[in-house]
Amino acid sequence: MNDDDIIIAIEERRFALAKRELDRKLKRFPTKSFYKAASAFCAFTMGDAVKATDDATALAKTIPSDPRTLKLLKTIFEGVGKQRDAIDVYANAVRKYPNAELLETWYDDSFMAFDTPLMLNSAKALYLFSKSSADYVSKFAMAQLIAGGSAEDISLAVLALHDCDLERDSHFYFLVGLLHSQLDEHSKVIALLNPYLPRNLDLTILYLDSLKKNLDWQDLFEECSRLIFEQNFDDYDSWKLLVTAAFKLGKPKDELASLITQSSRNALLATIYMNVTYGDDPLESIEAYYEAFKTKPCCFADLSAFELPEKFVQVLMNKRDLFKNHSKLTEEDIAEYRNLEVYCSQVKADPLQTSIESNLELSDFALRDIVQSLNTKVASPGLIKYVMCLESLSQKDPENFWFKSWLLNLYNMLGISPLVSANYKDLKIKMIQHDTISYKLSLDPSLANLKQLIDIYRFYLTSDAEVNHFLSKAKAEGLYTQIKDLYQFGQKLQFSLSKHLLIAKILKMSRMLNNDNYSYFVNIINTNKWKYLSDNFETFDNRDFEVDYNFQFKIARLELFAGEMSQTTKYVQLLYAKELLLSSNDEDLNLKLVKLFEKWLSQKSYRSTLSDLELQVLKIHLALFKVCKIAPTKDRTDQLNFLVKQLDFGKFKKSFLDQADPLSKRYRETITELVELKRNSRALCKESRVVSAVKQFKTDLRGFLEEDTPKKALKEIKTSFDKTHLGESFVEQQFKRIEDSLHTFDV
């Protein structure tokens, strides 16, 4: 077995084989640091943090120089939460043995681990090691581009770049130009890029930006003229710069206007911008734009950039009244009418009340009305009516994903997990979209739902490898126009909050279902526990809470997912601590975890990430952990009394279930929490008083669930539902679909 295979065996948890090989190697090479480090790594992966830390610390003191040893030591120290020691591993080694291989490993490791401060340090160390190396100059400059080091280091990088023999391609010019720009040396950017032709889009944008910041109005005017009129680059930002430069140069407005001969959308909008910039009445130019684009969906999104003259607004209002009172509208009229309504919703003027019988062309109005009405609390009968309405609209216009997206939200609000799952699939949400939208997947525990969540997790596994491959490629090939974006993208994906929320959901669901996948995911958090539980643990929130408000009617975001929005890194840490305590039998570890868990539950910054119910349930878990997971403490009796008192279903019913609509996410989540609480209490605590309380809790919960309140509530809604607009068979079909999706829980 070679050295790499030993590490692979450890990572794949084939410990017996790995240990046998390591023992053999250590007998043969007792002083070789790599095998000592591998042995410590093996202990770390097996969960023996004390031995791993002791062995790694002892080895680190000898300041080994083998790059593979250093890599393992850094992993162990990071894993056990010794961040300072992790940093020192490389820093001490390069101080004692400054050689190229060591420095390069340090740089590569910190770069691929997205450890930005270390990446900056190692890049500078590499450059200082050999200032004449083009490769090291490239790495040093790239680090400044990505992380924006000190002004001194950026200047040093720029100087080094000018002297090195890197290929002078567009990537190189972009790198040098952007570093000059970071130093506010705009005239140097201009001098650099002026002769470089043809400039690609990255360089064009940088060049225009530098001309503007350098107040170089004449060159800016000429460059924009060349782009727009000679190269047909119909780019609104360039149009605006052209107008600004002309104004700053004191060119007469007529002279500028005579240049704008095009009738493109950008040209018409630039004419309005010109009038506004020159302080003239823009009415005529606004009318000209409106006449050309009044039936296009972009119309008022474009005009929202300008203050519309009162006279023009009056014309719009009169037109709207005409349309409102006109029974027969052409397709063009309907398109314009819809735009006028978009405008009215922008300025909050007298919204038109529509109903389900509006024709398909006005369906956006119905969606707008539904979304706006959700601004105030809507009970389940109202939500069911909206569901029917959107299901009908979605059938008629299946290409309009806004209907499906809002159906997903409504089923979420109603707590109908199978239809949440079905709509999520129906929207064909894939790949990176999971990272931005999976927060909407509030699912009941079931094997099918668990599979759906694990399938999403697979995306993260493959994407990490994909990003690493291309990040290495971009680094090696000097793709400077892409490197910062790739680095930041990789960082956001690797430390994605959504990924950790997903792991927490999978852990909970797989544990509740006694599913085999549980051990895989527990291993993930167990191996990285001190990293995840450390105060330095940070994640990136890539979730998209805006998407549902970007349909043609722009509406301010509602608080539909307020609970999810408050779930931050601290929320993940609380859930991970709970899962670790549930899975661990190590008393020393449990004691540390209980202390941490108790401290966090008393801190506002952690408590604010939880709902009232979650906080209450976690407090009970804390008592369970104190009683069952650590050596008896002096407050054990108090904890037992607390448990017996709190494990009272009637209390939960009164405080949470009676306050929730039976057809709501809150209701379903409460039931799930209570089922889980009952199971965890039973599994953890063997104290007779608590066992009796849990038994009663289970009986009461089961009795409550047998009443099947959600189905009764749905039946009541169905009885009084007005079926005339949507047709009886359609409504019946939808009610059946919902009813079939309301299943009871297995207590």
Partner: protein, 195 residues
């Protein structure tokens, strides 16, 4: 008020209003990454000013293109992999503008390709008409291009599975040798369109 900017991987976090469209494909990161690293100039987006957005703009569409093929065999060309526009910015020729920009970039040095090509479903008449207006014509019918099983018979047509390979010649193809009339009647298998 459309401006053109380079596409960035981080845009994928802000692309839902465009990519939730049922006809727009969502690829794995590998696919976007390979285009950004290999053909960065041919992957760009259109953005619209939006003061209410945290980024100050919203993405209205994007173009993903590449160059491939042998010049010797007269197959050196630009390929449109994906062009898509948000529902809120349709019917203003934005897709056409994105296509024209790609043509303009690749018609000249350093690319100087002979033609631009793309694939459309045989049944997607709307797209076919749009591309015909832009000067594209059907070069051949690729049998079973969108099918789930690999076809073996080039004469076994299926409107649901077949694609039209549409082309537009660029100035370098002086004699228009890379396009032809009645391409609808020329049937090929998917392996024959790989470069």
């Amino acid at each position: 008020m459309t401006s053109i900017k380079p596409f960035k991987m981080e845009d994928l976090f802000h692309l839902n209003t465009v990519n939730l469209d049922p006809f727009t494909e969502n690829f794995n990161p590998l696919f976007y990454l390979s285009y950004l690293c290999d053909w960065p100039d041919l992957f760009f987006k259109s953005v619209e000013e939006d003061a209410s957005s945290p980024t100050g703009h919203q993405i209205s569409g994007y173009m993903m293109g590449k160059t491939e093929g042998s010049l010797l065999k007269k197959e050196w060309h630009t390929h449109i992999t994906a062009v898509t526009v948000s529902r809120n910015y349709r019917r203003i020729h934005l897709a056409s503008d994105l296509c024209s920009r790609l043509e303009n970039i690749t018609a000249v040095a350093p690319h100087e390709t002979l033609f631009v090509d793309l694939f459309v479903k045989v049944t997607n008449t709307t797209a076919r008409i749009l591309y015909e207006k832009l000067g594209y014509s059907v070069y051949r019918r690729v049998v079973g291009y969108y099918g789930s099983t690999y076809p073996t018979d080039r004469n076994k047509l299926s409107d649901d599975d077949d694609a039209f390979d549409m082309r537009k010649s660029l100035p370098r193809d002086v004699d228009n040798e890379t396009v032809r009339k009645n391409g609808e009647k020329v049937y090929v298998l998917p392996a024959e369109v790989a470069f």
